[in-house]
């Protein structure tokens, strides 16, 4: 048996930090993409494709999407913890979100590698 002290053990600190670090990363990406679209708005498929063919754009977009998935996990978990009281239902909802986010991670890689 491990005795855990429930108060003041910083169990939520990593989630709190992850939520905020990913928020800042996504905000910076948002400003970057708005800047890119304002400076050189892609007029057709070729421009759009060329934008995402560049390595920095793929990496930045990948970092954005992974940040989004982690951020979404913290947020959805918060919502479930507040509103779904029965433990079984809450775990089921959390498992569904984890599966969805994992699938979206694979999908994101597929999209960006194909780009």
């Amino acid at each position: 048996m491990v005795k855990r002290i429930v108060v003041g053990a910083h169990y939520g600190l990593m989630s709190f930090l992850a939520q905020r670090i990913t928020a800042v990363a996504m905000a910076l990406y948002t400003l970057l993409i708005v800047g890119v679209l304002l400076v050189a708005p892609p007029a057709h498929y070729g421009d759009w494709k060329a934008l995402f063919a560049q390595q920095w754009m793929r990496l930045a977009t990948f970092a954005f999407l992974m940040s989004l998935l982690l951020h979404a996990w913290v947020g959805m978990r918060d919502i479930f913890m507040d509103y779904i009281k029965p433990t079984g239902w809450r775990l089921a909802a959390q498992a569904a979100v984890i599966l969805a986010l994992t699938a979206y991670a694979g999908w994101s890689i597929q999209i960006l590698l194909g780009a």
């Binding site: 905020r20 928020a23 800042v24 905000a27 948002t30 498929y45 759009w48 494709k49 995402f52 989004l68 979404a72 947020g75 959805m76 919502i79 979100v97 979206y104 999908w107 994101s108 597929q110 999209i111 194909g114 780009a115």
Partner: protein, 132 residues
């Protein structure tokens, strides 16, 4: 702590949780909309990934994607998505500022909560009009 500068809590506090009688202060409206917009963004994420994939896939799928987003119902959903993103963005920056104890006293907090609502709605109107 800023608490000493704020008015003493002499108003009678509500003794009920009747949702039809509770009047949310503006910062609380921003907060619940942050949650609602976050949930909406999560639920609409597959649509965003689908559109991104179609836009990058091939010239044909790009044209198909353009046709999809021209449909009135999809346009409406995308305008809603745009507002959700902008509100979540603006309210998120406000929360980060509050974390740093910027604008945390009662009056500034009310003012910057109004600003979040106004700026995200204005940007939605401007960008929404430009995109369509």
């Amino acid at each position: 702590m800023q608490a000493s500068r704020e008015p003493a809590m002499t108003d009678p506090r509500p003794k009920h949780l009747d949702l039809t009688r509770i009047r949310l202060p503006v910062p609380a409206v921003v907060s619940i909309l942050h949650r609602v917009s976050g949930a909406a963004l999560f639920l609409l994420l597959p649509l965003v990934l689908y559109l991104l994939q179609a836009s990058l896939g091939s010239p044909d799928s790009y044209v198909r994607m353009r046709a999809v987003i021209e449909q009135p119902l999809v346009k409406l959903v995308l305008i809603g998505l745009l507002w959700a993103y902008l509100h979540h963005f603006c309210a998120g920056i406000r929360f980060l500022a509050l974390d740093l104890h910027w604008g945390i006293a009662l009056q500034p907090a009310r003012r910057n909560a109004w600003a979040v609502l106004a700026v995200s709605l204005a940007l939605t109107a401007i960008l929404g009009a430009r995109l369509w």
